[in-house]
């Protein structure tokens, strides 16, 4: 913990020392609110719920989380600062954890900054606050899982653009596993149990149930295990 904190602090503040933080937060807020207003017809729907707002998060995250996670390791490699970092008395796992937690906190901050939407539905109607709380929890956990993947791909290359593209591709594949177009295709070819198993690897399957206010242990475990396993692979990749 003593080792993690300074690294965590530096990484978190680094977002705000460059324009990245402001761009990511502003784009995220504008896109999230814009989509729910104009695509999901937030006002016309006449329902006091944020489902039409949260439903776009998996898609927004697909671009924004790689954008904020791509620099984590590739920038260190490009600038040569990882040589400095790994000759300081810190373990690789502390460095990986510090960076991951900093980026996760940053993205969680962006998510929490959408609170005026919750206030709006609260003012206009009588929403189910349990569902909203579950949705926020689900978004933050899903963001962490996305970020684990991005942090890992970022450790594989010193080129941020390459890191970004690989992250988007990998995340897109994992996301699409949960959509009917894809699952229908799988069902036609594979036995049901196998198709189901593959579908269960999608972020969307687990996020969707949380959007409806259902917090199942297996959904929480899914997100946590994605984070733990990607962070662990990240450590292995750097220690090689």
């Amino acid at each position: 913990m003593n080792q993690i904190y300074p690294l965590f602090k530096r990484e978190f503040l680094a977002y705000f020392r460059s324009p990245v933080a402001y761009v990511v937060i502003v784009v995220f807020l504008v896109a999230a609110v814009g989509l729910s207003f104009f695509v999901a017809n937030f006002f016309k729907a006449g329902v006091a719920s944020l489902e039409g707002f949260f439903v776009f998060f998996p898609w927004l995250f697909l671009l924004l989380i790689p954008a904020s996670g791509m620099r984590l390791w590739s920038e260190e490699k490009r600038a040569g600062t990882w040589e400095l970092l790994f000759t300081l008395p810190v373990s690789t796992s502390a460095a990986v954890m510090g960076k991951f937690l900093a980026a996760w906190l940053f993205i969680s901050l962006a998510i929490v900054l959408t609170f005026p939407m919750a206030i709006t539905v609260g003012y206009l109607g009588n929403p189910d606050w349990g569902v909203i709380a579950a949705s926020y929890t689900g978004s933050i956990l899903m963001a962490g899982s996305y970020l684990g993947v991005c942090s890992l791909t970022s450790a594989l290359t010193k080129n941020q653009v390459v890191s970004f593209i690989i992250s988007v591709l990998v995340l897109a594949i994992i996301l699409f596993l949960g959509f009917s177009v894809f699952t229908d295709f799988l069902n036609a070819w594979l036995p049901v149990w196998l198709a189901d198993a593959i579908t269960n690897f999608s972020f969307y399957t687990h996020y969707d149930s949380m959007l409806r206010g259902l917090v199942h242990v297996q959904d929480l475990l899914f997100f946590i295990s994605v984070m733990v396993s990607t962070v662990w692979m990240n450590i292995v990749v750097l220690e090689r």
Binding site: P6, R10, S18, A79, T81, E83, L84, F86, P89
Partner: protein, 306 residues
Amino acid sequence: MIEVNNLVKHYGAIRAVDGVSFKVSKGDILGFLGPNGAGKSTTMKMITGFVTPTSGTATVKGHSVLESPIEAKKWMGYLPESAPVYGEMTVEEFLKFIAEVRQFKWARKREKVDRVVQLCHLESVRKQSIETLSKGYRQRVGFAQALIHDPDVLILDEPTDGLDPNQKREVRNLIKDMAKEKAIILSTHILEEVEALCNRVIIIAKGRVIVDETPQKLKKRDTKTNAIRITVSNSDLERVEMLLKTAPFVDKVEVEEGACIVFPQRKHVIDEKLLDFCREYNMNLSSFEKLHARLDRVFYDLTTAQ
């Protein structure tokens, strides 16, 4: 304080470092010389724990870099080649970060940062972000970072690279002032630096240690040590050459660009004997110049021979 034992590093089929061993004790400033790509930086990176050796061990103050890396790194300060730093931070933020990683807190942290800022003359750029600094200042920030915990072992990869002559001198003085209390390894391409600073030199070529001795001794390897260059009128050159070859204290004589280079036997000092000899045979000298041993010639001979 540093013990390196048979370090080997392979990159695929290339043997970057091929069995390097040496020891450095307190008070030593060890100069690491070698052509580019000889394995200097790789060796340093293995000692500092950044690169894992294929085989062999390195220990710092008794802590194995491989088995207890965190302990070993606590005692080391390292300035990597080209001094990488987080450009978006200010000098102060960066040094505070390093101090925090090294577990200094509150007042102790401030005190440590103040000390190195003063030591490396960074007061004027303290609040400036590092990416806006000149190469010289950046190098000094890297140096400050390595010194922040006043380490017993300092490893400096080309510490004066990219500095102007005044700054080079300053950095050298800084290193010299600290030397008594520490074990220092520095790599460099500048041979005068080795002469001015180090009490030991290691030359690495093709991944192997080919020389490990004092700079003075190394210098004496120069074949032209104490040789004397004599010029006479062209018509007289042949006679002078023949005569000099007969002198008992002369090993050999070479003619080079119209001048005779007289090599003394066993590199003894022969200035006076030779002058007397010349007078005796009525040679009309137009110049008489003692040649000094030069490290660059030794370096060239050693690193191209193999």
